[in-house]
Amino acid sequence: MLLRTILRRLAVGVVQLLGLTVAVFFLIRLMPADPVSRFVGINPSKAAYAQAAKAIGVDRPISTQLLHYLGLAPSQGKGLLQGNLGTSWVSNAPVLKDIATALPVTLELITMAFIIALIIAVPIGMLAALRPGGKTDKAVFVYGLFAGSQPEFWWALLFVFVFYFKLGIAPPPLGLINPMNSPPPPRTGFYTIDSLLAGDLTTFFDLLHHLMLPVATLVFILSGPIIKMVRQNMEQALTADFVLYARAAGMPGSTVARYALRAAMAPSMTLIGILYGFMLGGAVLVESVFSLPGIGQYAVRSILAFDYPAIQGVVLVITAISLVVYLLLDLLHAIIDPRLAQE
């Protein structure tokens, strides 16, 4: 039953991604922008311009371009359906390779931020829920609302100003590692993991040091909605009949707490998934302040350069990851809450 749901979701996801691809494909070509002028370089003649247009294939009718992109025109080599996202017009490298370099940076950043935000926010949210209306509750509630509605790029700037410029605790906002150091040999693409695999603790701690402020910024922003949600779900769970009944049955406090927590966390999964998906695209602001070469920066760069294959690739990959994350969290939700497994 569960397997069938997964398969169905995956199938729907694939159709959605295809629809999305086609939509993005047409959308960017409808825009009043000309990628060729960027491509052709300095002072082109008409002939050179045509040459460049031909080189990137935009001289063909849009429908032909789409077929080639999707890989439905077999004479033209591999396309999307064969797992080829095309070649970036700016970097000239396969988009997939570019993304494989950029994506781990973002994933590393937001995953770390999520884990820390959860570690901090869940207990705080629970604490607040234990005494609804108490001072802690009010403070936590206001903090949750506040942090959840802040311009993260502005806070990132303030953090840089205070912690780097004024206090000198943080490293300069120059990316993931000290620029004079070599990155660890790439195995997974995730610098932290790679540096540990290479046994290079210095680089590992250098990474942590550089991730300090970007992660702190995201944790600050993320903890808002998470605290708010945990507090609300926990408050609800604590007034639920089964918690009251567990107390009535004389169960120890720890068991009662576990009962409530389980019920509170299950519905939180969906929100965490949505937040994660949102962050994947939204981390661009923080990446840009800290010069992190992540997927968001890659997206901005591609968009500003009208790099069509890269734009399409980025949107596709980010959406695909979001869909997979949604699916995974829904599965987790279904495992925690058997009521959902039935549907």
């Binding site: 007034t239 089964f242 009944y245 009535a248 049955a249 004389g250 068991t255 299950a266």
Partner: protein, 605 residues
């Protein structure tokens, strides 16, 4: 019944519980005094909002957040629970003091297997490994009569029926033979037959363990049949405490007298000449629902036929899942029947076009089960009644307003409040408003779909009186759908009993209630708790009970639908489809063995 001088088990004095509402304390329990002796079964009777549940919880020193116990003492076995340490209190709860509640499925954690929860409860009061706890859970479930407990321990709350969930709950409550069981409306929401089964089993089990019970309920039948003593809770205080029999004979408090009025004044059914043309005639009504994703069908209504004469009131009774509500919906074509004919004054309305059908809406009306849900929350009372007037009359604004006032007056609501939204009204008043809306266009026939099921006892009494008055004054005909047999007895001239989409027996109210013929009708009426303390159910062995629960209406057996639960079943029953045929006593019954006289016609006490 324990002797009057049995030792005191629980003694509550001056209990006060408060909830903060906008910086004020609201006190649903305000100075409650109560005693329970060992082995005593005490019924705590009270109307909706009287604070019954809050009181029940407070006996365990519990309050739903953010409420607080403000004052008083709860002495249990001599020690004041409210002064105990949290650990001391916890040791008592679930061990000597156990609780079962209404909405048992809500009291079970939705994401943990039942077995784990029972095991946790068991292990909370004694060192036991999780394996032992699990084994104990299986034993406990078996003890409360659950089939196949090895499988059931793995079930989650949503996979259990209400009855089963309540049994799981009581198995948890009784796991450590408590001295006092507090049962807070344990059977609300359960079907009559299940309710009787459950209460019987609870009474029997508790008799075995020697526990006392505080039975919180608003059902006089339960009080009469199971309780030794009654205490009446009204506005947060105990206003009356009496032995059950005395209470029924000589109620002291005004509230008690009002609630009991219905029990003490049985209705007199109307008589009809046989040759009056029927107002509504239903023939071979069938309704199938297809199940999404599967090619199976739910046979909700399976060939139902009946007729109702002008001014007559037909009761349609049966357990939930019997299809009685669908019949009501089909009659008005709120649900499109699959086949069959419906005639109103001889004219078929089963297949006319929707636009044409709308004209008939003014003549055929319906009142729904949940009075709150049936009203658009954004409408004032005036809006509610105006809508049908807009649709079906050409009255001018003044005329409509006058009519609205009349209608409100007719159902006993204050016309001056017509500009208010119904939000703040009680369920009883809301249901009156629903009636007023149904009456707005002057119908001759109203389907009443469980109209009293969510009303408090007091409201129910008033509502039944209203129905009787309207019927008499306006000559209305009713199809009264209900599982509440007491109400049916008071409202209906004739009764049809449904089981799994079929009518199994039709007769006058007296016939069906006094001498039910069909085995299912016998079981149903047998489970009916008559509010008569002279013939207590606990004092006699239950008769005519059915085994198990109502089967799913998806894969129905080829023969008699009741075959799997019937005491009188034969091999022939299992393969022969049963037909509704006239019984010797002049009423149709769907059972070949009854028709053949092989099954004694049941006498109700």
């Amino acid at each position: 019944m324990p002797p009057a001088d049995a030792p005191l088990l629980l003694e509550v004095k001056g209990l006060k519980v408060g909830y903060p509402v906008q910086r004020r304390m609201v006190t649903p329990i305000d100075g409650l005094d109560l005693t329970i002796r060992e082995r005593e079964v005490v019924g705590l009777l009270g109307d909706a909002g009287s604070g019954k549940s809050t009181a029940a919880l407070a006996m365990l020193g519990l309050v739903r957040p953010p409420g607080r116990i403000l004052a008083g003492e709860v002495r249990f076995l001599g020690q004041d629970l409210l002064k105990l340490s949290p650990e001391g209190l916890r040791a008592l709860r679930g061990k000597d003091l156990a609780l079962i509640v209404q909405n048992p499925r809500g009291a079970l954690h939705p994401m943990l297997p039942v077995g784990r929860q029972i095991s946790n409860a068991y292990r909370a009061h004694g060192a036991a490994s999780s394996k032992e706890g699990w084994q104990r859970a299986i034993d406990l479930l078996r003890n409360v009569g659950i089939n196949d407990p090895e499988r059931r321990v793995h079930s989650y709350a949503h996979e259990l029926s209400g009855g089963m969930a309540q049994r799981a709950l009581i198995s948890m409550a009784l796991s450590s033979t408590p001295r006092l069981l507090i049962a807070d409306e344990p059977t609300s929401g359960l079907d009559v037959t299940i309710q009787a089964q459950f209460l019987d089993e609870m009474a029997a089990t508790v008799r075995g363990t020697g526990s006392a019970i505080l039975l919180v309920t608003q059902d006089l039948g339960i009080i009469a049949n199971y309780c030794d003593r009654v205490v009446v809770l009204h506005e947060g205080r105990i206003v009356e405490s009496a032995a059950t029999r005395e209470f029924f004979i000589k109620p002291q408090h005004a509230y008690s007298r009002q609630v009991l009025s219905l029990v003490r004044a049985p209705a007199t059914p109307a008589k009809f000449a046989a040759d009056i043309a029927p107002l509504i005639e239903v023939r071979d009504l069938v309704k199938h629902f297809s199940i999404k994703g599967r090619d199976k069908k739910v046979q909700a209504v399976d060939g139902v036929s009946f007729a109702i004469r002008p001014g007559e009131s037909l009761g349609l009774v049966g357990e939930s899942g019997s299809g009685k509500t669908t019949v009501g919906r089909c009659l008005l074509r709120l649900v499109e029947p699959t086949s069959g004919d419906i005639r109103y004054r001889g004219q078929s309305i089963a297949s006319i076009k929707p636009a044409e059908l709308r004209r008939f809406r003014s003549k055929l009306q319906i009142v729904f089960q949940d009075p709150y849900d049936a009203l658009n929350p954004r409408y004032t009372m005036e809006d509610v009644i105006r809508e049908p007037l807009d649709l079906h009359t050409d009255l001018d604004a003044i005329g409509k307003r006058r009519r609205i006032g009349e209608l409100l007056d007719l159902v006993g609501l204050d016309p001056k409040r017509m500009g208010e939204k119904p939000r703040g009204l009680g369920a009883g008043a809301l249901q009156r408003l629903n009636i007023a809306r149904a009456l707005a266009t002057g119908p001759e026939f109203i389907v009443l779909d469980e109209p009293t099921s969510v009303l408090s006892p007091l409201a129910r009494v008033g509502f039944i009186e209203l129905l009787a008055r309207l019927k008499k004054d306006l000559g209305l005909a009713y199809l009264f759908i209900s599982h509440d047999l007491t109400t049916v007895q008071h409202v209906c001239d004739r009764v049809a009993v449904m089981y799994l989409g079929q009518i199994v027996e039709v007769g006058t109210t007296e016939q069906v209630f006094k001498r039910p013929a069909h085995p299912y009708a016998q079981a149903l009426l047998g489970a009916h708790l008559t509010a008569d303390p002279m013939h207590r159910r606990v004092d006699r062995p239950p008769v005519n009970a059915l085994a198990g629960e109502i089967p799913s209406p998806i894969d129905l057996p080829p023969g008699c639908y009741l075959a799997s639960r019937c005491r009188h079943v034969t091999e022939a029953c299992r393969v022969t489809p049963q037909t509704l045929a006239m019984h010797a006593e002049g009423r149709p019954v769907r059972c070949m063995r009854v028709l053949a006289g092989e099954v004694p016609i049941g006498g109700s006490p």
